[in-house]
């Protein structure tokens, strides 16, 4: 192979900006088979692959890429599924550039292998790679609370070793944050539907409209309902607000509310769908993570003329995925750095007053440069404000079950095997870690599933 080819990544086709901002269809088109094979051929097939170390669930990356090189997409998908049961989702939303791809040796020569896009290609072209089940069902029942990435992963890991799994979801549709939080232009609803159907096909029982803690008392799961173990995966649902004056004005949203109205309740189709949303002409989103990018791009697709992202640090510190920042910029979102909101004034026409910040050379605990307020303020004229500054663990179950040990942020404390302080109860995902990513939640859920199997005396296939 030519050296040049190794340095250059095969570009991932995307829909043109002018077209995609008008709808909620997927932005990234993903590789064609030919493009995927071309990209796969760049892989050096390292004997001590560092990329695998960068993957929270330990997917054997060179091995699956090897199969794509040969055009064996089904084989690639099966290889991924040994470690990751949600590849169609992870291939789209994993922050690969911070994980597997950041370790890729090719990164030093040019660009790392596009592992995320290859994972997606494997799931797009691998067909319905059948799950092998591990013999007849075991007489053990496990309750999984929450149907987001952690809940689904744990359910899948247990189901394929024959455990009878029941997933309880509070919302009327399954998928948790995948459904209410991530817009369809990043993760099409059909992909979520397919993934959930596959789990049902594996024998996982799923039920919506059940809020564990209220509909079924939490303590009843182990006793009256007869579950041998419980996995809590209720996520980081509680929105953090700014605590500034004017925050309760109409048209000031938490990102959770803004995204849920559109992603889950289809407010974009109002009034055919009954749930309304304020379609701002000028929208300010506060925050710098993926949720902020998603909110800004949703606001744009709802018809905003101007969308600002106001972030208290600079682009370098933004926690959002690079590709999402790029997509947002391409779509015309305006990035305003070093701004911290002080007050929101007005009513329909609002004034968002922000204090200008400055960065110092000092580092904080997270290793990022510290920010300090300056005396200067600026104001933005907007009609909608979306607050996307993070979420905290959902408090319902911990508040109703005082025996569950909790951390400072309200997260459920777990040991290295994701066991909680309660016998027979595990927790994983954002409820145990605070807000993180889909793949980290999945990593925790896998660990929990292994531990649950050990507890139940079930030998694992892996």
């Amino acid at each position: 192979m030519e050296g040049k080819d190794i340095e250059k990544r095969t570009p991932i086709p995307e829909r043109p900006v002018g077209e995609r901002v008008k709808d909620f269809e997927e932005v990234s088109l993903g590789y064609s088979k030919e493009e995927a094979i071309k990209e796969a051929k760049r892989c050096l097939g390292c004997s001590r692959p560092l990329c695998v170390e960068g993957c929270p669930v330990g997917v054997e990356i060179p091995a699956f890429i090897e199969r794509i090189k040969e055009g064996d997409f089904k084989g690639a998908l099966l290889k991924i599924k040994e470690k990751n049961l949600l590849p169609s989702i992870c291939g789209r939303v994993c922050p690969s550039e911070y994980q597997c791809e950041s370790k890729c040796v090719l990164g030093r020569l040019g660009a790392p292998i596009s592992i995320g896009a290859l994972e997606r290609a494997a799931s797009d072209y691998g067909g319905e790679a059948e799950e092998e089940s591990n013999g007849p069902p075991k007489p053990k029942r496990v309750a999984v609370i929450g149907s987001g990435p952690a809940g689904l992963t744990c359910a899948a890991e247990l189901a394929r070793d024959g455990v009878e799994v029941f997933v309880f979801e509070a919302l009327h549709q399954l998928g948790g944050v995948l459904r209410y939080g991530i817009p369809s232009f990043r993760l099409p609803r059909a992909v979520i539907d397919r993934q959930i159907q596959r789990l049902k096909d594996m024998g996982v029982r799923m039920e919506g409209n059940v809020l564990v803690g209220r509909t079924i008392p939490f303590s009843d799961l182990r006793t009256k309902e007869g579950f041998d173990a419980v996995f809590i995966a209720t996520g980081a649902g509680l929105p953090q607000l700014l605590g500034i004056k004017g925050e309760n004005l109409e048209g000031v949203y938490s990102a959770n509310e803004f995204l849920t109205r559109v992603n889950l309740m289809r407010a974009d189709l109002f009034p055919q769908y009954g749930t309304p949303i304020k379609r701002g002409k000028r929208v300010a989103v506060i925050g710098g993570g993926n949720v902020a990018m998603d909110s800004a791009r949703v606001a744009l697709r709802l018809g905003a003329d101007e969308v600002y992202i106001a972030y208290r640090r600079t682009e370098e510190e933004m926690p959002a995925r690079r590709v999402e920042i790029e997509h947002a910029k391409e779509e015309g979102i305006r990035f305003l750095y070093l701004l911290s909101p002080l007050e929101i004034r007005g009513n329909e026409e609002k004034e968002l007053i922000c204090r200008k910040m400055r960065l110092s050379d000092e580092l904080d605990e997270s290793g990022r440069r510290k920010v300090f307020p300056t005396e200067e303020t600026i104001s933005l004229l907007v009609d909608v404000v979306v607050v996307a500054i993070g979420q905290r663990p959902n408090p319902l179950i911990p508040s109703l079950e005082p025996r569950l040990a909790r951390g400072r942020e309200g997260e459920i404390l777990v040991d290295e095997e994701m066991r909680t302080s309660l016998e027979g109860v595990w927790a994983g995902g954002d409820i145990a870690s605070g807000a993180a990513t889909v793949i980290l939640a999945m990593g925790m859920a896998k660990k929990a599933a292994q531990s649950i199997k050990k507890y139940l005396g079930i030998s694992s296939r892996r």
């Binding site: 009327h172 209410y180 409209n209 809020l211 509909t215 607000l241 959902n394």
Partner: protein
Amino acid sequence: MGKIIRKEPLAEGVVLLEIEAERVARSAQVGQFVVLMPYETSERIPISLHNWDRNKGTIEIVFQVVGRTTSELASLEVGEEPYALLGPLGKPLEIKRYGLVVCIGGGLGIPPIYNIARGLREAGNEVISIIGARTASLLILQDRTKSVSDRFLVCTDDGSYGEKGFVTGVLSRLLKSERIDLVIAIGPVPMMEAVANLTRPFGIKTIVSLNPLMLDATGMCGVCRVKVGGETKFACVDGPKFDAHQVDFADLKRRLAMYKEEERRALEEWKARI
């Protein structure tokens, strides 16, 4: 689960539904609510629990047809199921012996006041119920509420039944003659606010059940945030009942009016469709 087994008009535009919901009935406690979606395209709306029957596995809710979603709900017939039903939700009322309790229900506040009065009376409290409505035809569930009250007082704005005037008029008279330990008021926001203002100088513990906009109703979205004692609370998980003397009613009223125009459009769309 979810099948409607009884549909009963209680007044013009006011409907009672009895719905099969075994788990909700089994877990229901005093002062809780449910969230309903009549159809897949509907909003999620919160409605107080009026009653439940653990043996039958059913719940009863009462609502007034005002907008799109309540019209959709009222269009469901016996034997049909709403698309989604989640509950019971919210913190239950703390049921204990308070002493003399006054339970006030205004209009659509009467259905939830019924189970609160019942629960408190069963716990050994002396319960005075005051119910009120604009006019006689809107005074619903009188017999039921009376049956769980030691004393039962009725008023209408227009004097067409019971005493003429507002529930606050009845309450202010009681405040002079009785040693009241607890007041619970559910009804329109101005009514709850007026009750809070009446009891404040007497220092009587007063609880109101708030009805802000809700979406998921599980503590996730934050649309139901209300200011209580200067702090932001989520009515769906921290409430819906709060200390009336701490509630910022002006903030609540403003937030309730947020989608007035959209609500009108949604209703028009629904009317045009049916």
